[in-house]
């Protein structure tokens, strides 16, 4: 896909009193584009203030540094000269061309905006240079821009961007502005300092939960603990007797206690002792879900990739291996619990939150209130973790419903327990895989039938085509090994007992676990070294083979380890366009505790905007993946999520965190995604390491529960 070709590029205009305003407009978004507004990514004030407007949200992944780097490189300003501003919701102006709306997810920010933001910067710079050349009556070619100033070489004259902004805004928009040759980059490719760091070490950073407004109340909520359940009753008087409690809001499936502060709200909610009518899911347990998936897996699915005659090759193989793999429901457990502040008035609605999908937050507020879209203002904030959780807007919908019953602004804050038990969980997936090996142990056939819900069919219906969830099969259909016959099938199976959604790495985090564990099984069946076995199947994939070699070399693959330790390897390729290979070194105690000592990861993500942020994202993804692979699991009993807080939804801590080494491959390939791959490649590396040290092949996660039987 070419993200730029869909745009009628770069509209420019003079903002009232604020100098040059640059942006673009999606040509196909508004057929009758009479009153389009420019999508300002860059605002240069006559006072010289340079503001970059961030459409991709910051949730830790570094967009508030990498996006400005793209703009600043071509605009010829230093990062220290720019101020950042959260973009307002507007799909027409800020849509992520990879995803179709204003959305931050799928490790796509750099891939989607790599060219458009550089072009925005270059065009602005060209106009500023042209404005200076006009002022001086000289040839623009004799001028150059640097650090926010245009210089005239022959005479040494200078004009600042601020002084040129208003003049530049009146110039025609150049259509062909060449981008810099990568060898001339001074910012892209450097480990520039994060622009969001300072306020995050001194307490000034503002997350949604930090919103404070005059007269604001604070509410906490209990939604039905069983999906589909309803409020049956509660002791309102007991809650109202708590000092500081102002109001109890009853909705059909939610109760909110509105108070002066969170402490009163929490106490009030406990005092309510809400009674629930659990509804049709009252008796559901995880085992029921698994039974349903197993039954669905008996039937063929929609073919997502087919190559050669897989059935024939399987039947004719010297050896055939069939296995079932499973991965559990997972919670996101972002450190900042879900929250949203709203002020619903008769004719307008204001929303303060942290969202990965701002326009969806705006739309749901409009739907709930019946107000036109333009009467809903959404203020975005820094996100205290996203991981896919804040792609959903359920917490916004709920806060607006509560806010409709409250006079004045109200901040709705979920407790950790509410957050963990009302997540949009990573789905439980159930996979059947089979492979045929020839007499030498080399695979001649590979089949993979994966069964799970279609998140995309709910979240982005137009992307759900021909019965295939493109995200669900991501990674599976990218099987990179040289195998002559391949069949990948997808069986859509919805289990409407728990909400499911995107979770860091979604498709690949599930599929790569299955595929890379299974390849390891094939290597074992062929009595081959796991690295050598993979390597022999990568003759047509040089980038994949290079990262595999790099990771193996750096990890000391093949060299002896201390007794009781083992190494596991995994390789990743998917639609993210990045190649990763990882070697994990683990130790397993007699009690089945897995200690991850060291993780070595080789990464080829093509062109890197900021290699230090790439490294940080890989470290982050690995640690996120360790938590999930060792312990992560949401289970159901009597329709209720059994886990509630960090004591029974265990996540990695400092004393358990492995030493991590990240090795980056430098090249000029197109940028690949980097926020999620580290997580996806880690599960199988750990499972394969556990196999190396124990001889136990674990085909389900989490690993420690499997080891304890």
């Amino acid at each position: 896909m070419d993200p730029v070709s869909r745009r009628e590029f770069l509209i420019v205009g003079a903002a009232a009193g604020s100098g040059l305003l640059l942006g673009w407009h999606m040509a196909d978004a508004r057929p009758a584009a009479a009153d389009f507004a420019p999508n300002a990514f860059i605002r240069i004030g006559t006072d010289g203030r340079i503001t970059l407007i961030m459409n991709q949200v910051e949730m830790g992944q570094g967009t508030y540094t990498s996006m400005p780097m793209l703009l600043a490189e071509e605009l010829e300003v230093g990062l220290e000269q720019v101020q950042l501003e959260h973009a307002p919701p507007d799909d027409k102006l800020y849509a992520n061309p990879f995803l179709g709306d204003q959305e931050t997810g799928a490790s796509s920010s750099v891939r989607a905006f790599y060219e458009p933001l550089r072009r925005a910067g270059a065009t602005a710079r060209a106009m500023l240079v042209a404005a200076a050349a006009q002022s001086w009556h000289v040839d623009p070619a004799s001028c150059r821009a640097t650090k926010g100033v245009v210089l005239h070489g022959p005479t040494g004259r200078k004009l600042s961007y601020g002084a040129l902004a208003s003049k530049a805004a009146l110039l025609p928009v150049p259509t062909q502005v060449p981008l810099k040759d990568p060898k001339d980059w001074t910012l892209i490719g450097t480990p520039a300092k994060r622009l969001d760091a300072r306020d995050k070490v001194n307490g000034k950073a503002q997350y949604g939960i930090d919103v404070r407004l005059p007269g604001m109340k604070i509410a906490t909520v209990a939604a039905s603990p069983v999906l589909g359940g309803k409020v049956a009753g509660f002791d309102e008087d007991k809650a109202l007797a708590i000092p500081g409690v102002r109001q109890v809001v009853r909705l059909d499936d939610v109760v909110a206690v509105v108070a002066d502060h969170m402490w009163a709200a929490k106490q009030g909610l406990a005092a309510l002792a809400v009674r629930w009518d659990d509804g049709p899911n009252a008796t559901v347990s995880t085992a029921d879900v698994v039974r349903g998936l197993d039954e669905a897996s008996q039937q063929p699915g929609v073919v997502a990739r087919s190559q050669g005659d897989a059935a024939g090759a399987l039947a004719g193989a010297a050896q055939r291996i069939d296995q079932v793999y499973q991965v559990p429901f997972l919670a996101h457990a972002t450190m900042e619990p879900m929250n949203c502040t709203v002020h619903v008035r008769k004719d307008s609605c204001e929303v303060w939150t942290g969202s990965q999908t701002l326009t969806r937050a705006q739309a749901t507020a409009a739907r709930v209130t019946g107000l036109p879209l333009e009467k809903v203002v959404v203020h975005n904030h820094l996100l205290g973790g996203g991981f896919g959780r804040r792609l959903e807007y359920d917490y916004v919908t709920q806060a607006v419903r509560v806010g409709q019953q409250v006079e004045g602004p109200v901040k709705v804050v979920w407790t950790r327990e509410e957050d963990m038990q009302h997540d949009f969980n990573r789905p439980y997936y159930y996979d059947r895989v089979a492979a045929g090996l020839d007499a030498s142990g080399r695979p001649v056939a590979w089949t993979h039938r994966l069964v799970g819900p279609a998140i995309v069919a709910r979240f982005a219906p137009p992307a759900f085509k021909n019965g295939i969830d493109p995200d669900g099969v991501d990674g599976a259909v990218h099987l990179i090994y040289d195998i002559p016959a391949i069949q990948i099938e997808y069986v859509r199976h919805e289990e409407p007992v728990l909400n499911t959604g995107f979770w860091r790495g979604v498709g690949p985090t599930h599929n790569i676990f299955v595929m890379e564990s299974f390849v390891d099984e094939l290597a074992a069946a062929a009595k081959a070294d796991p690295v050598e076995y993979r390597r022999a199947l990568l003759g047509k994939a040089p980038r994949a083979r290079a990262v595999l070699d790099l990771a193996a070399e750096a990890a000391g693959w093949g060299r002896p380890l201390r007794t009781g330790r083992g190494r596991g390897v995994a390789l990743l390729y998917s639609q993210w366009g990045s190649y990763l290979a990882e070697v994990a070194e683990v130790e397993v105690s007699n009690a089945g505790e897995v200690r991850v000592h060291r993780v070595v990861c080789a990464v080829d993500c093509g062109t890197m905007i900021n290699p230090d942020i790439v490294k940080a994202q890989i470290e982050s993804g690995i640690n996120f993946g360790v938590s999930a692979a060792l312990w992560g699991e949401i289970t159901l009993k009597n329709g209720r999520v059994e886990q509630s807080n960090f004591h029974n939804y265990r996540v990695l801590r400092m004393s358990e965190a492995p030493a991590i080494e990240v090795h980056l491959v430098r090249n000029n390939e197109a940028p690949g995604g980097i926020g999620e791959p580290g997580t996806a490649v880690t599960g199988p590396a750990l499972a394969n390491a556990v196999f190396a040290v124990t001889g136990k092949r674990l085909r389900a996660l989490p690993l420690e529960r499997q080891l304890r039987g």
Partner: protein, 158 residues
């Protein structure tokens, strides 16, 4: 009425004595740098200092604070160890989403104040009560060591 001494300033607040300090800081006084994460002293996001000792403000009642000095993330930069830790966090680019980092910095500053050269085991012991879902642990460890070197460079040659 309770008087709380926070970052060197007295605050008179009208809150019940059983209210956890976290909510007095965030919802009553307006110091929102201290974060809510779990409400059960499991994640450390709410860590503040009482007379220099790190405590979980989500389970510490206002009534138990008494005349002790409360230091929060907004004030920790005024202490020698807090300033070094904040700088080390910036030097090593520790933060990602940043939500847990107030608590991480408060725990690390207390650790550094009590041990000028913490070992890996000291760091494990001092920091394992603080969860980071972005998994910034390797950088937190390195930053604490970096801050310790900055504290007395002659000792380690660092």
């Amino acid at each position: 009425m309770v008087t709380l001494r926070i970052n060197g300033k007295a605050h008179i607040v009208n809150v019940p004595p059983d209210m956890p300090l976290l909510w007095a800081l965030r919802d009553v006084i307006g110091l929102t740098g201290t974060k809510f994460g779990c409400g059960m002293a499991l994640c450390g996001a709410c860590t503040v200092h009482l007379d220099g000792q790190p405590i979980r403000s989500c389970v510490t009642p206002v009534g138990a604070v008494g005349s002790k000095n409360v230091t929060t993330i907004e004030g920790i930069g005024a202490t020698p160890s807090g300033k070094k830790i904040q700088q080390a966090w910036l030097d090593l680019e520790v933060v990602q989403c940043g939500y847990c980092q107030s608590g991480q910095i408060m725990s690390a500053a207390a650790l550094l104040a009590s041990k000028a050269h913490p070992t890996d085991a000291d760091i494990d012991a001092g920091m394992s009560g603080n969860i980071c879902r972005c998994g910034t642990y390797p950088r937190i460890r390195a930053a604490i060591q970096h801050a310790a070197r900055a504290a007395s460079p002659a000792k380690t040659g660092g």
